[in-house]
């Protein structure tokens, strides 16, 4: 990879520095880039920092300008291109227009709103599809608990007529048989979707709400199984629907998780601004270390040995010194007013680390909120409600307890509440796990870095 390329790699993928997938010169440059980025966050007016890192900082400013220059030039390329296309827009052929339209549609689909809309739209579509397919199924038409009851009453009357009230034993035995068969019928009806309402002929599990919850549970891999497809077409459709639905769901989860994570990080940075600022100072030198660590520990890169020989070792040795310099203003500035008057306007969100405890608190809040919510909608006890939330959010989804299927009332709207809770809850869950993973990885790298640092120092001494 030539050196010129690295410039573009840096500016096109500014956040790729800890992936370690780019070339050797790239890595090297990244180290440097982050290094002077650290300097940027510090107050340059502090006297002690200046005399030690004067040279360093001048160089840094120089490169920043360079960087901006290159960005500007690149921007102008793009803008010029778009300008030319827009001036000739009037006589643009239809094909171009269609292409443009397609491009815009695709861009929109992959934006956050588009992904959400796609997810919800896909679920609603699934709901209608399953409704159409499964409505034709006449498995529920022959469920009439009322008719069976009347039959049982007639049977009992026959028994009573036969035995009269003189033969209690014979009457009792026969009645027990009748009641048992009736009970069996009711149980069978329940397993087929009967929910206790007497007008069972009009009962339809594949209502819009039911279908919505079914499609959602299928593509989120929860799979309650409170209603199941009975027809051949329904089963085939479930398989096809899942194959296309799961990527959509994963996309949605990643996207919403990302937005939520950013929002949370921003809030966290704003609320704990002072702490954050200090954290930033503590963490940013570590970014240098991280890049150094990736440089040394990425055997994936075939050009790795070259880095080690050329500039890598040098860069590594330099790091402790840099760290020292960066820490100097930190220690001084904590109490100083001038430092606080310069708030970090653009907080770099990627450097904010949410502690694990906060993620755990959010998880428990999610579970607790769900527990309270379903307790108020359904007449469940707290344990059942918590059990339901837990089983749902872990995507186990037994389906023994599902809101909206209770005996007493016809509250199928609860399916929708359940679906909304799942949509939001799963995204939040994925966010929390991502944040926790990030934090753990960060902790581990810090640990490894400090160990290597001390080892290195020993060697130096």
């Amino acid at each position: 990879m030539s050196i010129k390329d690295t410039r573009y790699s840096k500016s096109t993928t500014p956040r790729s520095y800890n992936q370690g997938v780019f070339g050797a010169t790239d890595t090297e440059r990244k180290t440097f880039h982050i290094g002077h980025h650290d300097g940027k966050g510090r107050n340059p007016q502090l006297p002690i920092a200046i005399d030690r890192s004067y040279d360093y900082e001048r160089g840094e400013r120089f490169t920043i300008d360079r960087d901006r220059g290159s960005q500007r030039s690149r921007g102008s390329i793009r803008s010029r291109g778009s300008y030319s296309s827009s001036t000739h827009g009037s006589e643009k052929p239809l094909q171009e227009k269609v292409k443009d339209c397609c491009r815009m549609t695709i861009a929109f689909i992959f934006s956050n709103v588009g992904v959400c809309a796609m997810f919800v739209g896909y679920t609603i579509m699934g709901s209608f599809i399953f409704q159409v397919i499964e409505r034709n199924d006449d498995a529920f038409k022959d469920i009439s608990v009322e008719a069976e009851r009347n039959r049982t009453i007639a049977y009992l009357w026959n028994i009573t007529h036969h035995f009269n009230i003189n033969n209690y034993r014979g009457w009792n035995d026969s009645t027990a048989v009748g009641v048992s068969s009736y009970q069996k019928y009711v149980i069978d009806a329940i397993t087929r979707g009967y929910n206790g309402n007497d007008n069972a002929t009009s009962y339809d599990p594949w209502s819009f709400e039911g279908g919505f919850l079914y499609s959602l549970t299928v593509i989120t891999t929860i799979g309650y199984g409170h209603i199941v497809p009975k027809t051949t077409n329904g089963k085939i459709m479930t398989i096809v629907y899942t194959i296309f639905g799961m990527p959509v769901f994963l996309l949605y989860m990643a996207n919403i998780g990302d937005i939520l994570a950013k929002g949370l990080k921003w809030t966290y940075a704003k609320i704990c601004i002072c702490r954050h600022a200090r954290d930033e100072q503590r963490y940013q030198p570590s970014a240098v270390w991280r890049s150094a660590a990736t440089m040394f520990s990425s055997p994936v890169d075939p050009r790795y040995p070259a880095v080690l020989e050329n500039g890598g070792g040098e860069g590594f040795e330099l790091d402790p010194g840099q760290r020292r310099v960066l820490h100097t203003p930190d220690q001084i500035s904590i109490g100083s007013e001038s430092w606080r008057s310069v708030p970090s306007e653009k907080t770099d969100l990627s450097s904010v680390n949410i502690p694990i405890t906060i993620s755990l608190v959010i998880l428990f809040a999610l579970l607790y909120g769900g527990t309270e919510l379903f307790q108020s909608f359904e007449d469940w006890d707290p344990l059942t409600s918590f059990y339901f939330c837990f089983i749902s959010l872990t995507t186990i989804g037994f389906g023994d307890i599902v809101p909206g299927t209770s005996v007493s009332a016809d509250n199928r709207i609860n399916f929708i509440y359940c679906a909304l809770y799942l949509m939001f809850g799963l995204a939040l869950l994925s966010m929390c796990f991502n944040l926790m993973q990030e934090e753990v990885v960060h902790k581990v790298t810090t640990c490894v870095r400090s160990v290597t640092f001390f080892k290195r120092r020993k060697e130096l001494n």
Binding site: T12, I165, Q183, K184, T242, L318, L383, I391
Partner: protein
């Protein structure tokens, strides 16, 4: 080695782990000195145990033993404590009979309409109570002891920590529900570790197989490769295409389809539907092997156990596909990225936006870190 022959367990351990040969040598050296205290031995054992636990074999056996322990625990919890609900339903049944008798005594055979109304009311109450006990309290038609047999319980545990959640049998009691939650909290991370581990192992194996097949098939390429290797070139990495992964998954689903269809006398569609929903972790649970149509557990426990093995291996295969596809995707993205960069650069050159002196700038940039940091290093040394 002669000493080691007398310690077969150690040798097995060393061969099984592969990487820990050194440690076993160390311990063997220490054992020959015969001045080893029991504390040392204990420490050694612990170390070995931990290193074994970190291997694939360790994780797999840990997961299986976790499933077995869980199966026993749920048999104990649900089998014993689930009796209460059954008794309650029997009670409802008896109460209804009593009520019926009372009404019959009251009206006798003289007033049919009145009698019918009363009986109807009684039956409606009975029906409501039955529905409530089934839906809300989770009454089962069968004795919980018959439902919570060991293989069925094993299947339940598996469905909990793999997050499939068939729901064909669920805990009904309060301790059962609590222990299910706790079981999942510990089991799911364990399962994820297993999942990742198996994915890596399967990916390696599959890559190896694919590579050898690839070489066999394309003999010419192989010769070219030989030449390249002789002339000092590195062997080009053969990527497993994602279509191969998809084929493996399809074959696995087909295998499951045929297997379950033969065993359970299901239609092929049902069988395919079951395999697919299980492997996709949906677990709708309307059809589960080993459980008859009306909830009766069949005697053949082997089916359930083989089904569990099918699921565990299938999950490993999914992890493998995931790993391989990610690898391929990353490589392709990288290639596309470089191509794009090249294009942008060429475009910039052509438009005259990038001047040739760029190289000098970059040279400067390259030298900057060393220049700027050298004084710092000195400062460290001074301190």
């Amino acid at each position: 080695m002669p000493i080691e022959r007398g310690r077969p367990s150690q040798r097995i351990h060393a061969s099984g782990v592969g990487g820990s040969h050194q440690s076993s040598q160390r311990s063997h050296g220490r054992s020959s000195s015969s001045s080893r205290t029991s504390l040392h031995r204990c420490k050694d054992c612990c170390r070995k145990f931990i290193s074994l636990m970190c291997t694939q074999v360790g994780v797999g056996s840990l997961l299986i033993s976790y499933a077995i322990v869980g199966a026993f625990a749920f048999v104990a919890i649900e089998g014993e404590m689930g009796k209460a609900t059954t008794n309650m339903t029997v009670e409802i049944h008896n109460q209804t009979l009593e009520n019926l008798w009372r009404h019959t005594l009251k009206f006798n055979v003289l007033n049919r309409t009145m009698w019918s109304e009363e009986i109807d009311r009684t039956l409606i109450i009975f029906q409501r109570r039955v529905v409530k006990s089934i839906i809300k309290d989770g009454y089962e038609v069968m004795d919980p002891k018959d439902i919570w047999t060991f293989p069925a319980s094993l299947m339940f545990c598996l469905s909990v920590f793999t997050m499939i959640g068939y729901g064909h049998m669920t805990p009904k009691t309060v301790p059962g529900k609590i222990s299910t939650i706790l079981y999942a909290v510990i089991g799911i991370p364990l399962y994820i570790v297993y999942f990742m581990n198996m994915g890596r192992v399967f990916a390696k194996t599959f890559k190896f197989l694919y590579r050898s097949i690839y070489r066999c098939v394309s003999q010419e390429k192989r010769e070219a490769e030989e030449e390249a290797r002789l002339s000092g070139w590195e062997e080009p990495a053969i990527l497993v295409p994602s279509t191969a992964c998809v084929w493996v998954m399809i074959l696995y689903v087909v295998f499951g389809t045929v297997m379950f269809a033969e065993w359970e006398n299901w239609s092929y569609l049902d069988s395919c539907y079951f395999s697919f929903t299980s492997l996709a972790k949906i677990g709708i649970g309307d059809i589960v092997p080993g459980i008859g149509s009306n909830g009766h557990t069949n005697d053949n426990a082997t089916k359930l156990i083989i089904n569990s093995m099918y699921l565990l291996v299938g999950m490993g295969l999914i992890a493998m596909c995931y790993t391989l596809m990610k690898e391929e995707f990353l490589t392709k993205i990288n290639a596309a990225n470089e191509e794009f960069k090249e294009k942008v650069y060429l475009c910039g050159l052509r438009l005259g936006l990038i001047v040739e002196d760029d190289e000098e700038d970059d040279e400067e940039i390259r030298h900057l870190p060393s220049r700027s940091m050298k004084p710092n290093r000195k400062s460290v040394r001074r301190r």
